[in-house]
Amino acid sequence: TRSSTSTFDFGSYHTLDEIYDWMNTLVHDHPTLVSKVQIGQSYESRPLYVLKFSTGGSNRSAIWLDTGIHSREWITQAVGVWTANKIATGYGQDPSITAILDSMDVFIEIIANPDGFAFTHSTDRMWRKTRSINAGSHCIGVDPNRNWDAGFGGSGSSSNPCSELYRGPYAHSEGEVQAIVDFICGHGNVKAVISIHSYSQMLLFPYGYKTAPAPNHQELNELAKKAVSDLATIFGTKYTYGSIAETIYVAAGTTVDWAYKNGVKYSFTFELRDTGHYGFLLPSNQIIPTATETWPALLDIMIHVLEHPY
């Protein structure tokens, strides 16, 4: 018996298989809106799936979301599942979701690092990186958020394979990263990239690899300000916002910088909530509150993209 999206427990953490199975269910329940696209495979040959939300058209402008690029940040994959369901069930009901999907496509990669995610379930809950073997080192894995061709090799990344911030031998060495690069470049009409992490309560935008303001700094800053303000209206969770370099530290080779450098103006990264007690081990009863408060901020960005074509 096929499970149903209506009985799936969105307030619980799930394994890779459970989430992949749920994705099939979502597609089954919304066949005219949702489809599943395989964009590549991981180092350990797991499929890299993207959910495509589309009401038709050809190569429409699109919004990209990814969660779980750092595998131990379990709250992000869980928020990805909740958000995908929100979009699927909201089309035709929620005017904002309907307006977005009547003009644009949305792509969500819920588990951007499946090898790492499987490893967090089987062996080491604290695993952050990919699972690729590094020649000449006993240490495994590359930080997939330092592996992008945007200031690759610069500050805030490491050349040491044993480091959690290891950038990899060259830009896009990781299949998980290259798959996204190929997909976004191949698509050619992606207008926003939102990459979701945890846990510092921030909404960040380019640049990360240098402290200079991005050409669209003012617009991105205003949009981030509105998004975090709307996020705070739900439970009062206070986010900071700004460029990565100015808000945290200079970090080279990140997703959003690559996207921005490749023409995606609306390029953001979220750091989801921190209750101050659990770090990555946010209890599952925090999943729905976190997803619920993140939603208005995501919607702000998506609506802004819809209303500001370029």
Binding site: C162, Y278, G279
Partner: protein
């Protein structure tokens, strides 16, 4: 399966740039078992450091000797992981 019995996460609040630089010394190259969950960045942003039980005394000594203030965010990481697993199994049922 790797376990984390007695491991702690320290919530560290650097006072100045010098302390941030010192905290960066505790990186993977010099102390492969410690693991920053949140890296030392700019002033005003705390850092969170996962420390295995076997290194707790040494790392806390390092922080104390440099007068770097910290609190314990997670007393025993494995207890939280056990709780997480229990919740997942319950949900699956």
């Amino acid at each position: 399966k790797k376990t984390f019995v007695g491991d702690q996460v320290l919530h560290i609040t650097p006072r100045d740039e010098e302390q941030i630089t010192l905290l960066r010394l505790l990186d993977d190259q010099t102390h492969p078992e410690v693991n920053y969950w949140r890296h030392p960045s700019i002033l005003g942003h705390p850092a969170d450091l996962l420390v295995p039980s076997s290194r707790l005394q040494e790392i806390k000594g390092f922080l104390d000797s440099h007068n770097i203030s910290y609190s314990t965010m997670i007393e025993d990481v494995q207890k939280l992981l056990d709780e997480e697993m229990k919740t997942m199994i319950k949900s699956r049922r």
